[in-house]
Amino acid sequence: MDLVSTRFEKCIKCTICTVYCPVAKANPDYPGPKESGPDGERLRIKSPEYYDEALKLCTNCKRCETACPSNVNVGDIIAVARGKFEKKKLNPKLVRDYILSHTDLFGSLSTPLAPLVNKITDSPIIKTIMDKTVAIDKHKSLPKYAFGSFRNWYKKQADTQMQFKRQVSYFHGCYVNYNNPQLGKDLIKVLNAMNIGVKLLKKEKCCGVPLIANGFHDKARKNAQFNVKHMTDAVEQFNTPILSTSSTCALTLKQEYPHVLNVDNSKISSKLDFITSFLLREFMNGNMPTLKPVNKTIVYHTPCHLERSGLAIFTIELLRTIPGLKVIVLNSECCGSAGTYGFKKENYEVSMKIGQGLFEQIKQANADFAITDCETCKWQIEENSDLETIHPVTLLAQCLSD
């Protein structure tokens, strides 16, 4: 038992984590982070038979950790316990969990056939069938795939990017690669306007977060080791920062690798940065591209994992540098999607209950569109508020003077 795993003993049982837990509020079957985390860990050390299957109801949003005044990594404790004790049952839900979590595999299979795959997954009949067979809730739309991946597109850009004197490495993640290459393109556009070229890692795999959430820890650990290796190569070779546009990928690379997967990332950890944190620092140091005024009102939603990283303030301040933009910062609440969680039939109702407060806030704000740093928050908000939701980098790209 190493010291990291016994940090639960710093818990003084103040229960603030449970007060801030969106799941405990919406679902009485979930005992809450205090009981599932530090309390449970103590009992699980006594005997593994105190492992509670209800731990799978945790969305891994990590708001408990943000709330904890004793610096206990409550969410990590729960995630590690799930990795250690959760038993996979052979049933249709396992198939679903496999499909939802192996974003790499299904992304690379789907992008060449995107128009067809998207049409199929959007069909009401297929939705009903998926609902009945593998328990993907029929109210949900599966993420749309792009026709051709980001990496494929980038190949033709590589030479141009090499021309820039300053370079950054970009961990694009599955979402940019398979679902929304436009965000990657927007990032390149913005950074190029600041005279910074963009490199990709030689190879990358899914950061692992959906695998962790669905109990495929071994596979997640392999991905982590693979990514750390390629990120280390990039740092050793080019000494560039490694940026991410997904708040969840960023948190995973930096914190979940050592805390949950026990993968050492200490060599590159200081090089990892979230895009808005990098951009705002650049802006404040005088490297700011010229931006056109935008006379629009936006609502900003703080993703849970960005909240946990303590970086939300960078996105908010970055948005405020855009001339003419009216920024309404919504109360920081979980949207309920929590990655793959909200897609599952058994979680759909709870997921909607969790997000209800946020949806209400958005509806009342009457904004032109919503901004958020997380792809699954985006899907959830668009699906439940009819408000177009975009990434801060996409907004910046639209504001660039051509």
């Binding site: 038992m1 016994t6 639960f8 003084i12």
Partner: protein, 547 residues
């Protein structure tokens, strides 16, 4: 003059520790009527203030072969009759680089002659079994040590005795003996909670009061020399070892680390104290430091583990001819005062240890039964205690953790009677998984009169928060199930915190300090708890709660 309640019984037992409650059960099973008195709760003296170690006898094998033999014999019996009080963890006797490895052979030989199974392990084998043991060890011997929950053992003894007609009177003190000539025929007593006086008339009075037995003898104008030796221990927040860890050398300070339920314990120190101090034990900074330093040699992780509290007990050693507290025999001393001092109707059972409590009871009850002309044989070594009786057919699904934890504590039969309604299943103590139903059972069936008693029966308040989050909930249940007024239950709450505070004070640093500060802030800062004691009885309940 007010009429004094009188009880008549065959045997009056004084002292509700492991020995007293075992005698109570033994008498009851032989059909001898008995009443057991304790000035406090059962298991509130030395019985509840030790390691809770189920000795294999190995610790005594080299120095005291007789104790070793008694231990291994009782070890096997207890595993059979009190399985719910025991975790069969096994124990390691480790040799560190500064210890003499040759002692291992002496130790193994001594164990063999006492009938204790041993298994010599390499350092690596020991580490595989117990990953937190000091990795610099050079050898280890595995022995059949385990853990023994003394609270559960006493409660089960009482439960079984009561179901066979025995009677328990807690918070009842002997004030004097009633004598006719050279025979003791009873005792004048007082209930310390109600200040009501009463008398118990008995054919035989047994002094099983442990270290307090000297006082009891004093009431009979007899003199017994006892050597009180204080032993202090520290409780850690969670289990850091799965096997008991001992040092393979002559017994010394702080060389036993025991995993007890959800925690680990390191002990003990040994310090001779004045007899007058046996009720006001203080744990010094020096003792805490010794325990952490020496304990860290058994399992280095201990030095970084949060300490919950400290406590101390007094070894009930009888002076049978000099020597200091550690080297004196812990042998069983049964005194038939009729033979020894010419005082009939009175016997004392002194010395011994938790491990031999059943045997001590058997010896005592044999003596008493003989005097009473009862020829029934002892059966306490054969019949399982109530919590240890498991039905073969009902493999009840214990998916609910409170049920799982309660089954470990009380056995299947008792748990089946718990209130299964939503209220009954609600969790009160989150650290130790105690439900409303379990508390109701404890208050109604297990002679619980306050929160401290409740802690001994259920582990409520023994966890990480030391009662911070559960006791205010539990105290209100004394209104529901224990005929307490709101005012009285608030006082129980304060009494509990004062008791916990005593144990936290010696380790008031690090996380224990943070936790204590938070508890103080909650109860004093938010609830103004100290005002409860200032409120008179007149102002109680209604006025108070309507404000």
């Amino acid at each position: 003059m007010a009429k004094v309640t009188r009880f008549n019984t065959e045997v009056l037992i004084i002292g509700g520790g492991a020995t007293g409650t075992s005698i109570m059960r033994d008498c009851a099973l032989r059909g001898i009527t008995c009443i057991l008195l304790d000035k406090g709760d059962i298991a509130s003296g030395t019985t509840g203030r030790n390691h809770g170690l189920l000795h294999s006898g190995a610790r005594y094998a080299v120095t005291d072969g007789e104790s070793a033999r008694e231990c291994i014999q009782e070890n096997k019996i207890l595993k059979h009759i009190a399985s719910h009080c025991i975790e069969d963890t096994s124990g390691l006797f480790i040799t560190l680089p500064e210890d003499d490895l040759d002692f291992q052979s002496t130790f193994i030989d001594a164990c063999a002659s006492a009938g204790i199974d041993t298994q010599r392990l390499t350092a690596q084998q020991a580490l595989d079994l117990e990953p937190n043991v000091n990795p610099s060890l050079i050898g280890a011997v595995k022995v059949p040590d385990g853990t023994l929950d003394p609270f559960r053992l006493c409660a089960s003894n009482v439960l079984d005795a009561k179901s066979h007609g025995a009677q328990l009177l807690t918070y009842s003190m002997v004030q004097s003996f009633i004598r006719i000539g050279d025979r003791i025929i009873g005792a004048k007593c007082i209930n310390t909670r109600t200040n009501e006086q009463f008398e118990v008339y008995a054919q035989e009075v047994i002094n099983a009061a442990g270290i307090w037995g000297k006082n009891i003898c004093h009431y009979a104008d007899l003199n017994v020399q006892m050597l009180p030796a204080k032993g202090s221990l520290l409780v850690f927040e969670h289990r850091i070892n799965d096997l008991v860890i001992n040092r393979c050398r002559k017994p010394a300070d702080a060389d036993i680390l025991v995993p007890g339920d959800s925690i680990s314990l390191i002990g003990t120190t040994s310090e001779e104290i004045d007899y007058k101090d046996i009720d006001s034990l203080k744990i010094s900074e020096k003792e805490v430091n010794i325990l952490i330093e020496e304990g860290g040699k058994l399992a280095p992780i201990l030095a970084q583990t949060r300490i919950l509290r400290a406590y101390a007990g007094v070894r009930p050693l009888v002076d049978i001819g000099g020597g200091d507290g550690r080297n004196i025999s812990r042998g069983i001393v049964l005194l038939d005062h009729e033979q020894r001092d010419g005082l009939a109707g009175f016997s004392s059972i002194l010395g011994g240890k938790l491990m031999t409590s059943r045997l001590m009871a058997e010896m005592t009850t044999d003596l008493i039964a003989n005097k009473l002309g009862n020829a029934t044989q002892c059966s306490t070594h054969l019949k399982p205690l109530p919590g240890s009786i498991t039905s073969n057919k009902s493999k009840t699904k214990k998916t609910v953790f409170t049920t799982k934890a309660a089954t470990h504590r009380h056995g299947e039969t008792a748990v089946a009677t718990f209130d299964q309604s939503t209220k009954g299943k609600s969790i009160v103590c989150e650290c130790e998984m105690v439900s409303v139903g379990e508390i109701e059972y404890a208050i109604k069936q297990l002679d619980v009169t306050n929160l401290v008693d409740l802690r001994r029966r259920t582990r409520l308040g023994m966890g990480s928060c030391q009662g911070e989050l559960c006791t205010y909930r539990a105290s209100s249940l004394f209104c529901d199930f224990g005929n307490c007024s709101g005012y009285e239950s608030s006082k129980l709450l304060m009494q509990f915190f004062e008791e916990r505070w005593k144990g936290i004070k010696p380790v008031l640093f690090g996380d224990a300090l943070r936790e204590a500060e938070f508890t103080y802030w909650l109860y004093e800062g938010l609830f103004g708890a100290s005002a409860i004691n200032q409120l008179g009885e007149k102002q109680q309940d209604k006025d108070y709660y309507e404000i």
